[in-house]
């Protein structure tokens, strides 16, 4: 089982990182989005510090929404999804491996970028660290929700903006927790409660969503 997981995970990762456009375009989108806000808000440093963590969170969510559509596009076109559904191993396990690979390819680069973005947005070190921690704990949930959205709309030819309506409700709790964690830090208390909850939501998503996504995918493949 573990071997299959690793095989699926590494092959996916290999495919993603071989095409530069695939993993670089979300990163660029994220940078442009944040930079536009930085330029738009101008030289008022104090104001920027107040709202830039939220801008980064929203940019992160929008970037993952933007990449969600493409999670299974190539696999569907090449018939890999059918192969996965037919394989003797449980589909949710394979989907978990694929999601993990997708998380590494889409969320991790953004998190590595965070120190630079934080400096650009005039954030103090403490907040950058908290931002990275909350994003690190929240992003698995965001990725899993995205995977579910991608499987639910897999039969639709163009799901772009519709995916937004579908996923927004599921993103919101994560955004709220991330935002309230930062607000807590502004008032000089360590937001352990929010961090714990973010981790809990991510764990819940990692355990439950692969099953739901596998069920949706199986139905879509049967039709």
């Amino acid at each position: 089982m573990l071997k299959v997981f690793c095989r699926c995970f590494f092959s996916d990762l290999y495919v993603v990182f071989r095409s530069t456009r695939e993993w670089l375009s979300p990163v660029l989108f994220f940078m442009i989005f944040v930079a536009l806000f930085g330029i738009g808000l101008g030289f008022d440093g104090q104001q920027l510090i107040q709202i830039s963590p939220m801008i980064i969170w929203v940019a992160f969510l929008l970037t993952s929404l933007f990449t969600t559509e493409s999670i299974f596009r190539a696999d569907l076109e090449e018939g890999i999804l059918e192969q996965l559904a037919l394989s003797p191993y449980p589909l949710w396990w394979l989907l978990l491996a694929k999601s993990f690979a997708f998380w590494i390819a889409s969320s991790l680069p953004l998190m590595l970028l965070m120190p630079f973005v934080g400096i650009m947005m005039q954030l103090p070190v403490k907040e950058i660290i908290l931002l990275v921690v909350t994003l690190f704990l929240g992003s698995p949930a965001i990725t899993m929700v995205g995977v579910l959205g991608a499987t639910l709309t897999i039969t639709l030819p163009r799901s772009g903006i519709f995916l937004g309506i579908l996923l927004l409700p599921l993103y919101v709790p994560i955004l709220i927790l991330g935002q309230s964690a930062i607000i807590n830090l502004f008032s000089q208390t360590l937001p352990l409660f929010q961090i714990a909850l973010l981790g809990a939501i991510s764990l819940l998503c990692i355990t439950l969503i692969p099953h739901a996504a596998a069920a949706a995918l199986k139905t879509a493949m049967n039709e």
């Binding site: 639910l152 639709l156 309506i165 579908l166 927004l168 409700p169 599921l170 709220i176 439950l208 069920a215």
Partner: protein, 252 residues
């Protein structure tokens, strides 16, 4: 018990359920009318004005039933979606799909009445408070569900996908409930709790409960119509539907 189960199975075919709903409809409508009439008279005229909010509080006689039903209908949808996912009973999916728009409208009503109440009481139409946000998100969940159902052209597939979405979205309901405690909030706590003494006088509470019952019965009545229509639309090729339509046409 086994008689009851047999009766349920007996009801499980769309044709029987169509007639069953037709029989229930006048009862639901009638009792809902009585309950709402008592609730409105009791709430708007008999109940005393609130010592803080004056007569402004009376909007709860619409707001609370709407908010309650918006969540209750979603829960019902989730239960029927689960039944559909586990036992593949087509009727369960049909019921879930039929009541979803009703829930969406109640959610919208709860948001609007809350907003109207909020302007004089809190001094703002809208605030990103926990309950308001969750209610808005509930509306998005309903819209996402309905949108997905219409977007997928293959109806069997749409039913399964939407059932999965509804069940996943159900995680949102406890978050709505607990967000009041989790997040700093402006919205007051729940007025009626299952345990302990309610924080509201009996003369105000009785009409409120009556209104909630009335709204719930009204929802069921409306659902009966929607379910009947949906059954006819889905089974339009079957013989019994054609016979029925012919009979109705002859009568007119």
């Amino acid at each position: 018990m086994s008689h009851f189960i047999q009766y349920l199975i007996h009801l499980g075919t769309p044709r029987r359920f169509y007639h069953f709903c037709g029989k229930l409809f006048p009862w639901f409508m009638g009792f809902s009318f009585i309950a709402m009439a008592y609730g409105l008279i009791g709430g708007l005229f008999l109940a005393p004005a609130d010592y803080q909010q004056g007569d402004g509080f009376r909007i709860i006689y619409v707001h609370v039933p709407c908010a309650f039903l918006s969540m209750f209908i979603y829960m019902t949808m989730v239960i029927f979606s689960t039944i559909f996912l586990i036992w593949r009973i087509k009727l369960a999916d049909l019921i879930a799909y039929s009541i979803a728009p009703v829930g969406a409208v109640f959610t919208l009503c709860a948001l609007l009445t809350g907003s109207i109440w909020g302007k004089p009481m809190w001094g703002t139409w809208w605030i990103w408070d926990a309950r308001l946000t969750s209610e808005l998100i509930l509306l998005f969940l309903y819209l996402g569900y309905l949108g997905l159902y219409q977007a997928i052209t293959e109806k069997k597939l749409a039913a399964r996908m939407c059932a999965i979405l509804a069940v996943v979205g159900a995680i949102d309901i406890p978050i709505i409930h607990y967000s009041v405690y989790w997040w700093n909030t402006l919205h007051q706590g729940a007025t009626i709790s299952q345990w302990g003494k309610p924080a509201i006088d009996m003369t105000m509470l009785k009409p409120l409960l009556s209104m909630i019952t009335g709204f719930a019965l009204y929802t069921m009545a409306i659902s009966c119509i929607r379910i009947r229509t949906e059954i006819l639309q889905r089974d339009f090729k079957l013989k019994w539907v054609n016979v029925l339509v012919k009979k109705i046409n002859e009568r007119h």
